[in-house]
Symmetry: C2
Subunit: 457 residues, 2 copies
């Protein structure tokens, strides 16, 4: 069909990037945002765990020419810095090279940059203070809570975890599969400010983690020398937010389990009681689209927990795949949106399900396993295997973070096989030097020789 | 608290039985039903697969004195009668005794009987044409679509798979977990009428099944000599409802795969095009209650697919457990609804999840495995094990259908262990006579000796 205008609901990170892809492809685009312009008003961009942008996200923004501009506002982190209860630290690198880093970025700053880039395109218009209330499939009409309506041939729903477009589909689409699952943990944002000299209070290029089995504190660096910290902690139970009611409760808790963090958190008590406890949800649904008229992407179709840093990255990858499919399905000035959305749904659904699972598993890894010597041994042996068998073995973390050419679902399948191998190689040894590499050779041939286990398959 | 009036939303099977339990316990009860009185108007009681009532359901209705009245309107079925494509039949009994039967019943007739019983109580009032639109937790107010509102201290939501009470909880309860999953199969009701002489066209005391791997037809007897048939068939794909568009498509399909059924279905074409395709959904959620003020039960909190005949039975078991807990938590004329609802939620949730899984698995068993000689062999060896080791082995089907003292979750756990045993005993043999009972003795001691695997534990 000849498409006159395209409507994108939500100018968050994924909505703004979607509008950029569509705008650069030549479409007239209306981008609807429920909030006022965050670049002009002093408003929060939605409470959020600090973000990381990794190679999947960078690949997606590179296609619209924004990679360098975005890297300029990030801080690379080369690994995890683990803090034990005595304040001792252990460094666990993410990869083996300088390029294997993940990048800390402020959600608000990144969103502003994307909106600036959108407004550099004359064919894209952002409409602020337009909150979608519902979308009617029959009449193809979006109704906003301000009373306005717009009829739209093609709509993208990028309106987040609590998407109104998805809700409308749930109400109107026959046999719509849907689930929302909340963790028993909530999160609270805290701050480690820059020192009086303006320096970072801890090592700058790390993701700091205080793993404490069933819960954890993490800290990510900001450009201004501060760290944004997040406490992931149960809502209820003996050790839980409900039992941190007073100043003494909070300080006592931090003294007991995060003493070195407490030492650099002068505003802990104030932050703790000012900031709400946020919830952590996994949303899955299917289908993501209706014919060629509406399609969900980003958190609207696949909200995940933040423990693999892939919420935004998977949403940006949606945009990259959308861009590829737009090239494939364009004939002259006509686009076959129905086939495109069907292929998009098929291609992305299994990957979205896989990263949802991986993100849930990574919470256990971060809060509990990172501190385990066997886990650290496996990490080291994994890197050695990658060096020796680069065509057959890439650590799971590396596949997700540094290998966008491997889909999430493929990374999940391969990591199951790889983990069996690692478990066998690491039984009864205590350092990577003790690995029996003859046995390893045989095992790699045996375990990893199936085509599935090879790179890019 | 002293409870003045209790409101029950939905006078379907579970709502009516809930009102009976509450009414018999002495409460003033308002029972709200969205439809007109089905006993007076000529209306369908909601399209439905024919029901079976089994021992769990019978135990629940027995507590309110209705078991005999209900059995009077049922037809017992003593096993499955399997029909192959040539019309040959095989009988597979459900149990080893006369008492191990399941009972076919018309949903509409059973619902009418329950409403009659409700109205025999002077302290219960049914309000017809009151469709719940929403329930406001803060103000404890139910709003009906007819514009009326009622404030209620204690509300039971028994308003089915698409419950408005649950929807309101989803909107208002923080971190409400929810999922709705539809099968790729739909269902269509068909009829085998009585013969001109008023007789049953096939054996009366059986659940007839035409298993065809990915789909099946079933038939349950009615009191008037007819059978209600249900075709479970994919919505889409090569063999699917979407490819049965014409009279020729339908007759050709039945001639090819259900020829003996076609021979007794004179109204097939008319029925087929008059009746809609229904969907099959599994709904899970948690929590089921808010404090002591509102509690879901039946399909509203745990809708399941119909392949174990336990949708109504599990809902009736909710009522039985509710009755037990009401006795436990009553002090004088005061009831601790908050503790009661908490214990109800804890006790029923794992059982509801288990029967949801078991029902999904039983679809595969019914449509595909029943026709497998190994499956039939295992059934026979399972009965023999039950005879020899009655304290240690009860077939899965029997635990669900004939042993209400074993919860669904316990039945699920035990059947996993039992199935390993059966698989080992039945490998390399082709008839029950070939079982090596010395090996069996050893295996039973080895596999089933854990306390978990014993009856009632």
């Amino acid at each position: 069909m000849q498409t006159s205008r395209i409507q994108v609901v939500g100018s968050g990170l994924v909505g703004a990037l979607t509008a950029l892809y569509l705008g650069k492809a030549g479409y007239e685009v209306d981008l609807y945002e429920r909030r006022p312009d965050m670049r002009r008003a002093d408003i929060a961009a939605g409470r959020s765990i600090n973000l990381v942008i990794t190679d999947r996200g960078l690949q997606a923004v590179d296609r619209v020419g924004l990679k360098e501009r975005i890297l300029d506002i990030t801080i690379p982190m080369k690994g995890r810095m683990l803090h034990d209860v005595s304040g001792e630290t252990t460094f666990v690198p993410y990869g083996q090279t300088d390029k294997e880093v993940i990048n800390s970025v402020s959600r608000g700053e990144l969103n502003c940059l994307l909106m600036d880039a959108v407004e550099e395109l004359s064919n894209v218009t952002i409409h602020f203070e337009h909150k979608c209330q519902s979308y009617d499939i029959e009449s193809k009409t979006i109704t906003f809570t301000n009373g306005k309506t717009v009829t739209a041939d093609v709509v993208f729903g990028a309106d987040g975890s609590f998407s109104a477009v998805r809700r409308s589909m749930m109400d109107q689409v026959h046999n719509f599969n849907y689930s929302q699952d909340f963790l028993e943990h909530g999160y609270k944002e805290l701050t480690i400010p820059a020192t009086p000299d303006g320096d970072f209070a801890m090592g700058r290029n790390y993701l700091h983690i205080w793993p404490r089995e069933n819960y954890m504190l993490i800290a990510l660096p900001n450009l201004d020398g501060s760290f944004t910290c997040t406490l992931f902690y149960p809502y209820e139970g003996e050790e839980s937010f409900e039992n941190l009611q007073t100043k003494e409760d909070v300080v006592g808790f931090f003294e007991r389990v995060f003493p070195d963090a407490l030492a650099v958190m002068p505003d802990l008590v104030e932050d703790f009681f000012a900031n709400p406890v946020g919830s952590l949800v996994t949303v899955r649904c299917n289908p993501w689209r209706v014919g060629g008229q509406v399609c969900l992407l980003g958190d609207a179709s696949h909200a995940i927990v933040p423990f693999f840093g892939q919420g935004m990255n998977s949403g940006f990858e949606d945009c990259r795949v959308l861009g590829d499919l737009m090239k494939k399905h364009q004939t002259g000035s006509s686009m076959d949106w129905s086939t495109l959305f069907s292929e998009f749904n098929d291609a992305r659904k299994e990957n979205a399900d896989a990263i949802a699972d991986l993100a849930l598993e990574n919470f256990v890894e971060m809060r509990d396993k990172t501190a385990d010597p066997l886990f650290q041994l496996k990490k080291k042996v994994g890197f050695e295997l990658e060096t020796r068998y680069p065509d057959h073995f890439i650590p799971r973390y590396s596949m997700v973070m540094f290998h966008p050419e491997i889909g999430y679902a493929e990374a999940q399948r391969r990591s199951l096989v790889q983990d069996q191998l690692l478990t066998r190689l690491c039984s009864n040894i205590s350092s990577p030097e003790e690995v029996d590499w003859e046995q390893a050779d045989a095992l790699v041939k045996e375990v990893l020789s199936s085509p599935r286990a090879q790179v890019g398959v």
